[in-house]
Each structure stands twice: as structure tokens, then as C-alpha cells.
Symmetry: D2
Subunit: 203 residues, 4 copies
């Protein structure tokens, strides 16, 4: 019964979304069919498959390309608390990794942010989030997520938008300080140190 | 009704799989719940979410660590034809990337293969497969797959197993020859050249 | 006596160069003492030590960060012929890798070029040039050079300057065409393909 | 005259070194012409050119390729004190990077060590050593060295040899502990953390 409900929902939703997708100009080259999945359905899928995520560590560079500061967002976490975090989100069906990174940066840092995506499609690391924090040190109570993580220099005017409450630019030393690390969850303090290490800027 | 059917299937299957998983020594540390998804269900999910894959380019090295040859499998493709291909497969729910790479290597190259996984969890590249080959050059008629690709030195005795019909070790020059490239599909000829390039062995 | 001889030469030179360096505003933060080495001395050192080089593959990106074109210079080679080449040059004593890359880009592409150095100090590959082309496929008749190679997106107005005769922006397909490859020497056609591969843009 | 002087010195030295090199079994496959440089000459060159180094962080992996421990040497430093350090040394004229890494590992870890060089010739980072520790955080009182750094899994029996007094295998947590970090010099404690970060094993 439960599932029949879901299936009919999918069908009804499919017709509705088909129209939405057709009339949408937002993702001209992507077929954002994953929008068909309701919250309940997404929750069901999350129990059975790893979900593809992208994560961006926004940074400011000086004229010689050296990392000067790291941008950390203040945002609600899945468990309802407030936490410092990075730009992150799902990759939709039909969406390229690059498009997903750009979409989530625009969503979190505002439309005036000018990100400089790395030339290579390879992430500098892959963070594997499991409900159990013992497996990799990265944890997400909701799901098994495979997150491709990029360090992204961002020019322009960044304004926290949508769900983010604040955006703070910290020096590498501040970003790895115990106080700031304690305000991050799911292992993201470690991810910040890994990003700084990759950039040659780990204090 | 359909879903109830599916749900009961899941429950029945769950009992069956639980036993299989419990009695299996193959994936001691992974919770292979995604195996609960039937082919039909997997097909439904594939239409709505990108699926996480790993891909390994098996290579032989000489004593100084230089790439000497590349291992290509001969295997049936999703469309039914026979094609040269790489070690590839899904990442299961609860399974780490490393465990998935090792499992697929054991599956395709046999139990006597001794793979040397790279130290870093970052893939050398990410291949994004779409049904439409125009988007990235990598295509899969069944799905949108995000594939983390690794170059994996393999020692020991490799024997094509399971679905693979044959395994051939080719020199870099042979591996990029037009004849061999024509026998690969979905853009995997390009992936082989990218792997050789990463290894400093592109002819 | 031998050393005194050499030292007097160096000392005389030092006074001359000290002045040049002091009056120069070109490398404010580097101590360009290697400029003290005359051509003859540099030639002598080249016979006994590997020399550190940097190399940059200038590229243009589209809005999503995808590689659109590669910039190739037309310049005289060490053997006197004209050849398509990349931005390249020595790292001076006291100079950082980043400063060297920026200096050579400014030298070859002009002062209006705006390079975006990668965040990471790690090169995407290391090209080892030997007089003997058999060793690595990269050759330089003058020396053993260890070249750290970077793919560098360049904005702004690029004008070939100094020794470069011309600068041409080519699509990936053009850049790897046999005609263009034949106009490159020392293995740089292969380096261009490796850069495209790293960027996910190898045709 | 000056150059003749220098050359006669080199020629005399060459005869002496030729003998040394011929009778040596230490560098079987390399053309160790840089060995012709006497200590005084090397010192003179060091004042004028950056010197190419390789550095290896020896690690032990478990069956799944995860980093389990890091090997740190106890050895005299250039300034005469004793310090924990990594496998490190110059690249000789005519020697490939791979050959240099293998030679220095054999020199420091003994002939029974079985290193697994990474497939890619690109180092995971480049450490730039300057006499002034302010420039990059990596310092060497003797010289400007450009060091290509690799994480190298080592199997077999490792025995500290030649100048190394001891070899200790430490867990990642031990390797980054303040006590151990204080025993390293020139910024190598940071290099160890960077290597662990690259390997996904930074605590």
C-alpha cells in the first residue's frame, strides 16, 4: 500500500515534471529527472544506493595564486543543529559534475560569486560519508554519500544565500584552529585541512 | 500493488540476502543492501539518479615502476555485443570505494590477481557516462554513471572470470592502436589513453 | 688557484650583476643570483647537474571551466630551427616555482596576460628532458632538465613577446593533429596531449 | 684562463671520480657524472642554482591499500644535529626521477626493502626548500632545493642503512603527534601531514 502510493505519486508527478522540465530554461542541457523523486522516495533510495555528491572548498587566492583564505558557511545540518560547513549538494540525473559544482556554488555563495573551476575533472579527494563515522571518518546520518571534493578559487562578491546563514573567510591558521574545527561536523574539519594540504597551505 | 509486490519481494529477498551476506566471507565489512534492488527496481532508480561506479585500468609495471602493459578484458556490453573493456562495476550501499575496486578486480581478473591499489583515494580521472555520447564523450545506454577511474598495478596470475571472455595484456603502443580502439565502446578507448597519459606512458 | 680564478670571475660578475639586480624591479622578491652564471658557466654546470625548469600549457576555458583551446608559441629552438612550443624556462636561484611560472608567462605571453595558476603546487606531470630522446621521450640537446609542467588558464590579452614569433590558439582536435604535432620538437607534442588528457579534453 | 683552470680541476677530478664510479656498485644504472663535482664545487653551484631533489615518505599499507604506518628515519641533519627525517637525496645528472627515488630508498632502507613506486611520474607535492624558512615553510641552510615528494609503499624487510641511525614505523596518529613533529626539522613534520592527507589518512 505504501509503495503503491509512491508509485502513483511517481506517475502523477512524472506528468507534472515532464511539463516543468520541458518548460524550464534552468538546466538547458541537463535532464533533471531526479526532481521526480519526492522526499520519501529519495529517503527510500538512500537506504539502498550510494548517492553522488559534490563538495567545494571556496578559497581566495593572492596574485601569485597562493591560498589566502577559506570560506566557511554557517548552515543547518541534517540533524537540525547549526554548523560550519562547505558548499555541498547532490548531482542530479543528467547533470555533469561541473554543472553541479557551479549550481551549488551559485546556490550557496550567491549569483555574484565568480568561481574558477579546476581544469581537471578529477577531485583532489573523495570523501565517503557513511552513517557510521568509524568507517572513513566522514559521516552523514542520512545516507551513504560519495562526495567528489574540489578546491575552488572564487572571485567576485560572495553572499551566503538560500539556507546558509553566514559566510566567513578565514586564514589557513584560523580555519584549522580547534575552535573552528569544533564547529564543523561529519568530518568536514578534516576535509578543510586536506584542502589546505592539497593547496600547499596547511599550517 | 506493484509496490506492495516489490516490497514483499524486498522482504523475502531481504531474508534470503541476509543469509547470503551473513554466510558470505566475500564482503565482510560491507553492508551490501543495494543487492536487495531487483533488476526492475535498479532500472527505475537508474532513470532518476546518477549511479556510482568504479573503474580500474589493470597494468603491469617493470622493476622501476614504469608501465609495461595494459590489461583489456573481452566482455559482453550492455547492448549485447562483445567489446574490449576495463574492470568496472557499481559501488554498493555501505561499500567503500577501495572495497568496490578490489571486489570488481577479483570478479574480473580472478582470485589469484594481486592488485596494488593507489595510496590516494582520489581517482586519476572521473568518467561521466550518459546515454547521450555528445555530453562528455563517455556513454552508457542504460544510465547516467559517475565512474571513479583508477590505474591499478596487478601482480599475480590474472584469469578472466565470470562474464569476461578473455584478458589480453597489450603494450601502450598496441593499446592505443586504431584497431584496438575500434574494439572498445562507450569512450573506453579514450579512457585507456588517459590512463597511459597519467602514467607517463602515452605513446 | 683554480678556485680563485673561478671566484674572481664570479666576483667581478657579481658586482656587475648586483647592480643589475638592485636596479631591477622585475623580480622584487627573488634573489636572482643564478643570473651571475655566464653562458659558458651555465653550459659547464649543465654538463654536471639536472636543471630545474617550469613549463606552462596556456589554455582558454569556457564559462563552465571546460578547456576550449590551447595556446602554442612559435619560437626558435636550441638547435636554431623554428618550432611550436610551450611557455618554458629555468627556475632561478631563490625563486619560487609560482614566481618562475608567472615570470615566464609574462615573458612569453606579454604583460596583459592574466594567468590563473593552479591552487596546488604539484605539477600535473614532470617531463624529464635528456639529450638522448630514448630515455623518456622528452629531449633537449643542451641538458638534462627536470621540468614541472602546469596547465594554466590564461585570461586577458595575450601577445607573443620577447623571443616568441607568434601565438596561436588551437582547439584540442587541432592541437593533436599530425600536422601540428610535426611542428613541435623534443616531445612537446606528447606533452600537449598529456595536458589535454589531464584536463579531460583529449580528443 | 679561468675556465681552463676550472676545467683542469674538473678533469683531474674526473679521473679520480671515474675510478670511484667504476669501482662503485652503488649506482649501477646511472651515469653519475655529477659525482665529478667535488664538495667545494657543489657548494659553489648551490649558491647559484636550485638543486633537484627527490623525497620519499615510506609507508606500510594493509590488504585494502589503506595507509597503516609511516616510516621515519633518525639521521644527522646538515647542521650536525640528529633529527627524524624522510628518505631524501639529489637527482644526479643523467638519472631519471624513478631511478633516483629507488636509489635513495635502497640507500636509506637497505637492499631488502621492496618499494612500490607510484604509477604516475607526478609527485603528490613539491617542497621548495630555501635557506630562509619564511618563504615556503620548508628550509635547508645549505641551498635552494626543489624536492619532488612521493608517498611510497614499501614491502619487504627495511633496515636503516648508511647514514641513517634508526627507522621507526609510526601510526598516522603518532606521526603527527607534537612530540614526533618536534623531532623533525626543515618543515618535514608538515610534509608528513601532507603525505597523510594525500593518502586519506590524516588524523
Amino acid at each position: 500500500m505504501i509503495f503503491m502510493g509512491r508509485y502513483s505519486y511517481w506517475c502523477a508527478d512524472a506528468a507534472r515534471m515532464e511539463k516543468a522540465v520541458t518548460s524550464s530554461t534552468e538546466f538547458p542541457q541537463t535532464n533533471a529527472r531526479s526532481a521526480w523523486l519526492s522526499d520519501d522516495e529519495m529517503q527510500a533510495v538512500r537506504a539502498h544506493l550510494p548517492i553522488v555528491y559534490v563538495e567545494a572548498v571556496p578559497v581566495r587566492l593572492d596574485g601569485a595564486g597562493r591560498l589566502v583564505s577559506v570560506g566557511l558557511l554557517l548552515a543547518p545540518t541534517p540533524d537540525g543543529s547549526i554548523s560550519r560547513t562547505l558548499v555541498t549538494g547532490r548531482v542530479l540525473h543528467g547533470e555533469t559534475i561541473r554543472a553541479a559544482v557551479l549550481r551549488h556554488i551559485a546556490k550557496d555563495l550567491g549569483p555574484m560569486a565568480i568561481p574558477r573551476l579546476p581544469v581537471s575533472p578529477a577531485p583532489f579527494t573523495v570523501a565517503e560519508y557513511f552513517p557510521d563515522p568509524q568507517i572513513t571518518g566522514f559521516s552523514d546520518p542520512r545516507q551513504h554519500a560519495v562526495s567528489l571534493v574540489f578546491v575552488v578559487p572564487v572571485d567576485g562578491d560572495c553572499q551566503p544565500s538560500q539556507s546558509a546563514l553566514d559566510l566567513t573567510w578565514l586564514s589557513p591558521a584560523e580555519a584549522v584552529s580547534p575552535g573552528v574545527a569544533a564547529e564543523m561536523s561529519g568530518g568536514r574539519d578534516r576535509l578543510v585541512r586536506m584542502a589546505l594540504s592539497f593547496a600547499g597551505a596547511l599550517p
